[in-house]
């Protein structure tokens, strides 16, 4: 104890000095408490108020994110005794997460089923705030301990959200499945972390790598694989993707929109944080992580897209398609260049926007007509022309055809991978690109099912009592507009990344 005394003041000043690099998270923490208290004070009728507080607070957090850009002009900063890393790419990941969360917070009450929940949605807002805080930490974590804590924070919030409204056996099952698989994968990851700690005697990633060179490569590889499984669970790449379809289909649609986008973006940021030292350090003697990720990417693209072809439920189809997109995004992780990270950010942003848009529209049609299956959409195109045209634009963007943001995203990922291929001539990169192009065609095949049912199939539609979900419609129009705009002028966003 006495030995540590001299370090106390040093540690304290480190912590205090780190706080200015931690302002968005401090605000988020406060926001969580404020939303929680609002909920407690105003009780059941506080949904509206919580929503306003949470959304306004997130705008403030975004503002704080932007302010951080000025802090790291001289390069990335390690804060809280190397627990967290504040880098330029990290700030943009956080900004995107906050922006998308803001959209999603607005969207929560627009789902008729979720709105009808007797308990009210105020709890959901406090859970969401905590989850966003966890996502921020995930983006910044560079220490094995902070990685685990951040992931757990997000996971627990996600479990609650998935099971927030369990209307039937199917969604209850989905909630339980998610908790069980999530807990198991956390345990596996924790085991991996404990092995790494045991091998190296430190939790700091950069130090760990140096120590691991003295360990048997098979054992250290095993430990790393276990940690990757934990991260991969959040990312939902094959072979740890099996929970995705059930959970996405069973969860309330806004929650699905949440789960399929923001945690995924944060998990990619975390994956980059975790892998950079392994790929950059020459002392790593275990398995070739680049090749392992390439294989995972290829298999994920193929499995996700081909499985999606066979789906008839819209949300389930979008779930499989999001697995496919994970595989595509892994391509940009494999190369791990500065360029790769910025195109990955762009790709994920565009994907998330389009995916939210697609789920918003699926929600719109469920609200209006009760349609859940692709077949239920038959003939609705002429009845709801605006929503259907937006749906087409959004699906085209997900497929990656011009003139939409999805196309530019795909193009930039291909460019980044190609430029690395030019130097290394790695056959894996070629295979990744080939699979990426091939699965684009496959993805068209299932995405087009929705426009096909909307417009091509004809059905006499009985009078529908219009419930008019205007908000959802406006949101989807805005998203479609953004996607087309970014399709024509991608540098509006990309130039900052």
């Amino acid at each position: 104890m006495h030995d540590l005394l001299p370090h106390i003041s040093e540690s304290l000043s480190n912590v205090l000095g780190s706080i200015i690099y931690f302002m968005p998270e401090v605000y988020l923490g406060l926001l969580f408490i404020v939303v929680l208290i609002t909920d407690l004070i105003f009780g059941k009728r506080s949904t509206k108020l919580c929503r306003i507080v949470a959304s306004a607070g997130l705008v403030l957090v975004m503002f704080k994110d932007l302010q951080q850009v000025a802090l790291i002009l001289d390069g990335p900063h390690l804060i809280f005794s190397n627990m967290l890393l504040l880098s330029r790419s990290g700030i943009f990941f956080k900004l995107i997460i906050d922006l998308l969360s803001f959209i999603l917070l607005l969207y929560f009450t627009w789902d008729n089923k979720l709105k009808a929940h007797q308990k009210g949605l105020s709890d959901l807002y406090s859970i969401a705030m905590a989850s966003v805080l966890g996502l921020h930490l995930m983006v910044m974590a560079v220490n094995l301990l902070s990685i685990y804590l951040a992931i757990e924070m997000v996971s627990i919030a996600s479990y609650l959200m998935v099971a927030y409204r369990t209307e039937n056996a199917f969604s209850t099952e989905a909630g339980l499945k998610y908790v069980l698989f999530g807990a198991a994968s956390s345990a596996i990851m924790l085991y991996g972390i404990s092995l790494l700690y045991g091998f190296s005697g430190t939790l700091d990633l950069a130090d760990t790598i140096g120590q691991l060179s003295k360990v048997n490569p098979i054992s250290s590889s095993f430990a790393v694989v276990l940690v990757l499984i934990g991260i991969g669970f959040k990312l939902s790449f094959v072979p740890i993707h099996f929970w995705v379809p059930d959970v996405y289909q069973g969860a309330p649609t806004p929650v699905t929109a949440y789960l399929s986008t923001v945690p995924k973006i944060a998990a990619f940021a975390l994956l980059i944080n975790f892998l950079s030292p392994f790929i950059l350090a020459s002392s790593w003697k275990g398995f070739d992580i680049g090749i392992a990720l390439s294989i995972a990417g290829i298999v994920t693209m193929i499995a996700g897209n081909f499985a999606a072809v066979m789906q008839s439920n819209v949300k389930r189809m979008l779930a499989y398609s999001s697995i496919g997109h994970t595989g595509f995004a892994l391509m940009a992780v494999v190369i791990l260049t500065v360029q790769g990270v910025s195109v990955l950010t762009y790709y994920l942003f565009v994907y998330a926007l389009a995916n939210i848009g697609a789920l918003v529209l699926a929600n719109y049609f469920t609200n209006e007509t009760g349609a859940e299956e692709v077949d239920d959409y038959r003939g609705l195109g002429l009845k709801y022309p605006t929503a259907s045209v937006c749906f087409v634009i959004i699906l085209i963007s997900l497929t990656g055809l011009p003139v939409t943001a999805g196309f530019t995203g795909k193009l930039f990922v291909f460019s980044a991978v190609y430029s690395v291929y030019e130097q290394t001539h790695s056959i894996w990169l070629m295979l990744l690109m080939f699979t990426g192009a091939l699965t684009t065609v496959v993805s068209l095949f299932y995405y087009i099912k929705i426009p096909m049912n909307l417009f091509l199939k004809r059905k006499e539609i009985a009078e529908i009592n219009n419930k008019k979900s205007h908000n959802l419609l406006i949101l989807s129009i805005l998203i479609s507009f953004m996607l087309v705009l970014l399709g024509i002028f991608p540098d509006l966003v990309l130039r900052y990344l």
């Binding site: 291909f414 190609y418 430029s419 030019e422 091939l438 068209l444 091509l456 991608p490």
Partner: protein
Amino acid sequence: MNILTLLIFIPVLFGLIIALLPSSVRSSFKYITLLATLIQLGISIWIYIHFKTGTAYGGINHEDQFQFVQKLPWIALNLGSMGKMQIDYFVGIDGMSITLLVMTSLVLVIATLSSWEIKSNLKGFFLLFLLLDMAVIGVFCALDFFLFYLFYELMLLPLYFLIGMWGGARREYAAIKFFLYTLFGSVFMLLVMVGLYLSVTDPATGNHTFNIIQMMNPANYSGQSIFSIAGHQTILGMPARTVGFVVLFIAFAIKVPVVPLHTWLPDAHVEAPTPVSIILAGILLKIGGYGIIRICLGIFPEVATTGAFWLGLLGVISILYGAFNALSQRDLKRMIAYSSVSHMGFVLLGIASQTAEGVSGAVMQMVSHGFLSTMLFFLVGVLYNRVHDRGIQHFRGLGSLMPKYTAFVMIAFFASLGLPGFSAFVAEAFTLAGAFKSPTVNGLLPYWMAVCGAVGILLGAAYFLWTLQRMFFGTESLKGGAVWKIALTDLNLREKLTLAPLALIALALGIMPSLVFDKINDSVLALIQFLQLK
């Protein structure tokens, strides 16, 4: 305002008007669309008249020789270690595009006129039509690969809906088949495009560029880049440039269509409504041919020369296979669809010969086939609108029932089978002259290919004449009996006004092929010279 930009985006402008108008005035939509296409036709004729000729305007691989050029910086991204990415809004035309542009504008007018048959959901139809209009004009004008690709892909979605929503019984199948086929070609084209742009730097700015013309200059390729000529890189063990050429060729060959990638065409044609069939046959197929000339030959000339035999072989197979299939069809529209496959085979044969005659013939064939296939599909549409049947065996002796119609059918059939005096004769004669010349001049194609091409013309005559005999001659006998007889009225004024200019143009181009050749000659010579120099 650049005249080409105006030409490309006029449809969008009119599309916006249609989008904003209420559905209560839906009967005016066709007139608005007609006005848009007529203005386009006027502009393109103006461009045609003011198009300068001479060796200083050859185009192909000289950026300064293109006309009506507009070049604006569009997307400029700093890509760190990869240098800068430069995408321009770059449009311009040379001899290869000008005649196709005029042909396209006219075909679009005809397609609009044939849209009178569309009765349901007019707003959607004309909006998609105008979007497609913009895309096809854009493809012929774009000189930046990114822009080209954008327009190229932008055609797919409107076509999917046009076939799928207003088509026949099996429209869903035909639409998705068409979409998947073309997308399959173009996603791999995207990979080659990315590879090319990373290989090529603009000498003026030092940025990576999508400029097609800069891609034609071997000096612009950096030494270690994947598509560099000097680098001799390989992809999966095959020479990279060959792979690039093949991928691009497949993408365009699907559009042309070249046997064995043609199977989407008969389905799409049979299911599509008449205006869409007209656009498909008249314009879309030419985009394939145009792409092969501008992009495959332009960017990979040395691969095109070494692979000329295979191109020619595919061309000959298309000619013969298409013709034999046409002979055996029972559906009139399907017969004409296969005749398109056969006729477009000549384009490929002409291009493969790499002689001035062959390439001129190929371009002429594209122009001529654009007009003639439009006429043929319009004629099928006339029949189908009246009795909703197209079976060749279901009609007999139409000649006495619909004399004016029969007259136009005979003009279209005789022009298509290559009767001297019509455009197809000139085109096919030049193509075959090129193919016959090739063995002695550059040794790319053997004699038997030219002979097979000639046999193809003979087969063409066979299926057209046989159809004429079965459907129009002989005693009157209709499957539908008296009901059909009442329904089968002769051509009305609108139809006559549509068909007459097409027949006249087919004749005019046959008598005065210089209308086309004068404009394309400099570019053809420049291309041949470019191919020889490499």
